[in-house]
């Protein structure tokens, strides 16, 4: 971000004027801060105050006694550990599937001529703009016992009995891959687009085969974008609620669902808060690492 060149815009700040100009500059800084304040106020009210409050609540038990019980339970209780296991297992599988499907797609999109790429891009962006709930519903319809997938597979003679594709682990993974794939493809595509093609020409010119040029030149250069996509998908997986709640059938319990039931079913704010706080720390930690390693804002500004 470039600030306005204040020093050049007001040339030759003469000595006796300097104080006045500094005063003006200071006033302007406060005015500009004032422009941010309505937005800051809203974010403070809806995010910072409530999250701070929950952080405070996480140290108290149901009777209002100061305790670390809410955090200790996360390590001790079997059902909590199972939730974390499920969450991480799903997150790893979904992220891996997104890479396997998304990397070739982003690569192809980055290589196509602009017009064809634009048309193919619709296939990525339209789902991205379609309501999450609608897409989850679509999978519910497709994967159910008498759903399209089962009917077709039986008609084609691939299977005899309808498979259980939904209200379980499989359904959750399929739905989540579908919803999160664009989050991998878009930053990856932007990163691939910015790779200088002359490097590849140089590699070919020096005798590298297409495969070798890809793995030794293109792939390493695309890693920042890939890494950004992976972290983004993984982080979104950890806190995912809607799709596992609808496609998981109550058996596949993920982190965010645990938070929801703690509040809605057991009205246990301490437990819910502690779970939420740890989720927040893990999420922000991963995003922080990503931002340190690569400039996330640069990557995100492109594709949208």
């Amino acid at each position: 971000m470039t600030a306005i060149p204040r020093d050049t815009a007001i040339p030759a700040a003469a000595g006796n004027n300097a104080d006045g100009l500094a005063e003006d500059a200071r006033r302007e800084r406060w005015q500009m801060f004032g422009l941010c304040s309505p937005a800051l106020l809203l974010v403070g009210l809806v995010v910072f105050i409530p999250v701070g409050w929950l952080f405070w609540l996480s140290f108290f038990d149901a009777q209002g006694v100061l305790t670390f019980e809410n955090y200790e339970r996360m390590w001790g209780s079997r059902s909590y550990i199972r939730t974390f296991q499920t969450t991480f297992e799903i997150s790893f599988i979904v992220t891996a599937a997104c890479v396997l499907m998304g990397y070739p797609l982003a690569y192809m999109l980055s290589q196509l001529p602009p017009r064809a790429a634009g048309i193919c891009m619709i296939f990525v962006i339209l789902p991205f703009w379609t309501s999450l709930l609608v897409r989850t519903y679509a999978w519910l319809v497709l994967l159910q016992r008498q759903g399209l997938i089962n009917t077709w597979m039986i008609d084609l003679g691939i299977i005899d009995e309808p498979m259980r594709l939904v209200h379980n682990f499989t359904g959750t993974v399929i739905g989540m891959v579908h919803i999160l794939l664009p989050f991998l493809v878009l930053p990856l595509f932007a990163a691939m687009k910015s790779i200088d093609r002359d490097y590849l020409k140089a590699a070919a010119n020096l005798g590298a085969s297409p495969t070798r040029a890809f793995w030794q030149v293109f792939f390493p250069l695309s890693l920042p974008g890939l890494f950004a996509g992976i972290v983004l998908v993984f982080v979104l997986c950890l806190g995912f609620y809607v799709t596992p709640a609808l496609l998981g059938g109550g058996k596949t319990i993920m982190w965010a669902m645990r938070i929801e039931t703690s509040v809605n079913l057991y009205a246990n704010w301490g437990a819910a808060s502690a779970l939420g706080v740890v989720l927040l720390i893990v999420t922000l930690g991963l995003l922080y690492i990503l931002n340190k390693a690569f400039r996330l804002d640069k990557l995100m500004a492109g594709p949208r």
Binding site: L35, L40, V43, M108, A138, L140, Q146, L200, L246
Partner: protein
Amino acid sequence: MLNRPASETQITHLQRLWLYFWCGLVMLFLILPSLIVIPMSFSDSIYLEFPPQSWSLRWYENYLGSLEWREATYVSLKAALFTVLVATPMGTAAAYGLHVSGMRFATIIRVALVMPLMTPIILIAIGAFYLFAKLHLNYTLLGLIIAHSTLAIPFVLVTVSSGLQTYDMNQEMVARSLGASRLRAFFTVTLPQIRFSVISGALFAFITSLDEVIVAMFISGGENATLNRRMFNALRDQIDPTIAAISTCLILVSIVLLMIAQFFGTQRARRPTP
């Protein structure tokens, strides 16, 4: 055709056929689920079948005939519209302020303002639910608008900031040195030039509110329940074909918004940058 080189490394299209095939499958995987809902919503049967044996509009009649669904749709549209009206000016003002000022705290403020995007949404939902209970904002339209506007601000901020980056601030300086006030200079010189970014931001704000499920699940209810909240609850119980009709309407809304966004996006790209 197939033997022509496809890239700088002289690989031919034929050698890459597997790549095109795989990408084709991935693209179908991405697009088909949403599109297949559309013909299904016109089916006459209670079992969602494809292709439908007989066609009818009964699920649309069901949707539009139900007071509950109509009200929920109305609440969602109101919330989305007000979210645009609140988040767009706030996000634009913040983006401008952060862009212009040489504040040392600018980076910190920017991070604070994109926090709603990075915080797990479930945490925002229960936090807002807890705080709004004390403020008596739960189950009110006002509370919904406040929460959704907060979620939309980062999108407006990011879009408008990227618009400002390709804009030459000296133009505003010229206007001001010719006697225009800062406000006037902004509205007559800067805003018209970054308008496409602002419009994209507004579209994002709209879709953010319209698609939001989890926060609405906690803080909206009663007569102010959003369409998504009702859909989510209905889906938990059974697969009601009425939802296919509602989904089709929502998909059409997405397509229209996307087309508008693409149009303004190309306008933005076409504009000569200084």
